[in-house]
């Protein structure tokens, strides 16, 4: 089913999504990948605040190429989500509602998704040029020194993704 939804969305909306849905997201999402997740996890361990409140938000696993003059962002496709698996269950338990990446997730993440009623989306891997066209604003909000791995806040418009794992644990990658 094709759906247009605004981000951030409510837990009820997250729960209404089904594996296989083709979804166009419009609104605000956050960007963090390997090094940012490591730092966020260290911040949590030290009792320090995260660079943004993950509650009710969607994180996009991505590290863009630099923007040319006049561009909002460079190529901006998803990175492999499993590298974030180690850090993800804690974020889901803190209220993170959605993740956008590509590829398989660990059992601990799948359990966290069901436990909290969340959703894991895949964006098309290797379509960074196309996806960059759906990003209307991009701002680095933390860990600037990490370069392509800094934490960003993005405004997206009709950003296409596919529900891979829904709140009931149905997994589009598992077939047959």
């Amino acid at each position: 089913m094709t759906k247009q939804i605004n981000v951030p969305f409510s837990r009820e909306e997250a729960k209404s999504l089904r594996a296989g849905d083709y979804v166009y997201l419009t609104g605000t999402i956050y960007v963090a990948r390997d090094a940012a997740h490591k730092r966020m996890s260290e911040a949590l361990a030290a009792g320090e605040p995260l660079p943004f409140d993950v509650k009710g938000q969607v994180i996009y696993y991505m590290g863009p190429t630099p923007a040319r003059e006049g561009q909002v962002i460079g190529s901006a496709g998803p990175t492999t989500a499993s590298r974030m698996d180690k850090y993800t269950p804690a974020l889901l338990d803190l209220g993170l509602l959605g993740m956008i990446g590509k590829g398989k997730r660990s059992q601990a993440v799948l359990d966290g998704i069901v436990r909290n009623g969340c959703v894991y989306f895949a964006a098309v891997g290797g379509a960074g040029a196309l996806l960059s066209m759906c990003i209307t604003e991009s701002e680095v909000i933390a860990y600037d020194d990490l370069g392509a791995e800094a934490v960003r806040k993005l405004k997206v418009e009709n950003f296409p993704c596919i529900v891979v794992v829904d709140s009931e644990g149905t997994n589009l990658y598992v077939r047959g």
Binding site: S75, A127, L130, Y173
Partner: protein, 280 residues
């Protein structure tokens, strides 16, 4: 003795970095268009159409095809009659990468130490494989490698008794494990024979071969065809959501090996199998 200046190498390498990240070679883009026309899985078909559009936008808007513009890998064939002037060849290649990745708005994805992990901020150093040959030409093959697919690559030290069936099972098992992580449709490079490291280099070399051609060795050409069919029967499909386009192509390279061994390396690449070749 033919002289080639570092300056011309730097300039050439910088151009290759940008070119490879914005445009695919015809064998790979041709395979994409063909698959987009043939795929029957509806979601798979939609994804392939997105990839075609992505390629078109990349070329038109000067945006890299993929944000992972890779670690810079070079195969350098240098004629023994060539004399490099104005510095070292390795430094010149790295300087070219620095220039290409900085001026070309490509992502800097290299960390200085695998454990300390501080970004070098200019995508250097490159991984360079040198081969010295007769003649006075310098041939550079640049193949930036994204790590979503690189991470899914495998090396198997099989037994001679495992034979060709063992090789096929090894390749299929690597592709199955890679699944959606390697941004399918994939391109597969296989190296059979040699030693532990030779097999891996052969597999990487295989990825730079023309995907629409086959090995000149009849038994290897047959193996390539059979493997491609078996891979596309795995139903991984575009994006990993099912369909018959799991790989665009597979190339196999071989080398003599030891009486006791059958090394097999499977270098997984995604549909963004980039390369650029220049001769100086």
């Amino acid at each position: 003795m033919r002289e080639i200046s570092c300056e011309s190498i730097i300039q050439t390498v910088a151009e290759m970095c940008v070119e490879a990240n914005l445009h695919l070679t015809e064998d790979v883009s041709g395979a994409l268009h063909k698959a987009a026309a043939c795929e029957v899985n509806p979601l798979g078909k939609q994804i392939l159409a997105s990839l075609e559009e992505n390629l078109e936008i990349a070329g038109r808007e000067n945006i890299p095809i993929c944000q992972d513009t890779g670690m810079a890998v070079f195969f350098v064939t240098i004629g023994q009659e060539v004399h490099i002037t104005g510095g070292s060849l390795t430094d010149a290649i790295n300087e070219g990468v620095r220039k290409g990745y900085t001026e070309g708005y490509l992502r800097k994805s290299v960390v200085n130490d695998p454990l300390l992990r501080v970004n070098t901020k200019d995508n250097t150093p490159a991984v360079i494989h040198y081969d010295i040959v007769p003649g006075d030409a310098l041939k550079l093959t640049f193949a930036p490698k994204g790590f979503g697919s690189e991470n899914m690559s495998k090396l198997y030290m099989l037994k001679p008794a495992d034979g060709v069936e063992g090789v096929e099972e090894a390749v299929l098992s690597a592709v199955r494990d890679a699944g959606p992580n390697a941004c399918p449709p994939m391109v597969i490079g296989v190296g059979i024979g040699g030693t532990f490291e030779k097999a891996a280099i052969l597999a990487k070399t295989a990825l730079t071969r023309n995907m629409s051609e086959h090995s000149a060795l009849p038994h290897i050409a047959e193996l390539e065809e059979r493997l491609l069919k078996r891979i596309n029967d795995l139903d991984i499909g575009p994006g990993g959501f099912g369909g018959k386009t799991t790989a665009f192509g597979i190339r196999v390279e071989t080398y003599p090996t030891h009486i006791a061994g059958l090394p097999v390396a499977v270098n997984i690449c995604c549909h963004v199998n980039r390369h650029s070749v220049r001769e100086l």
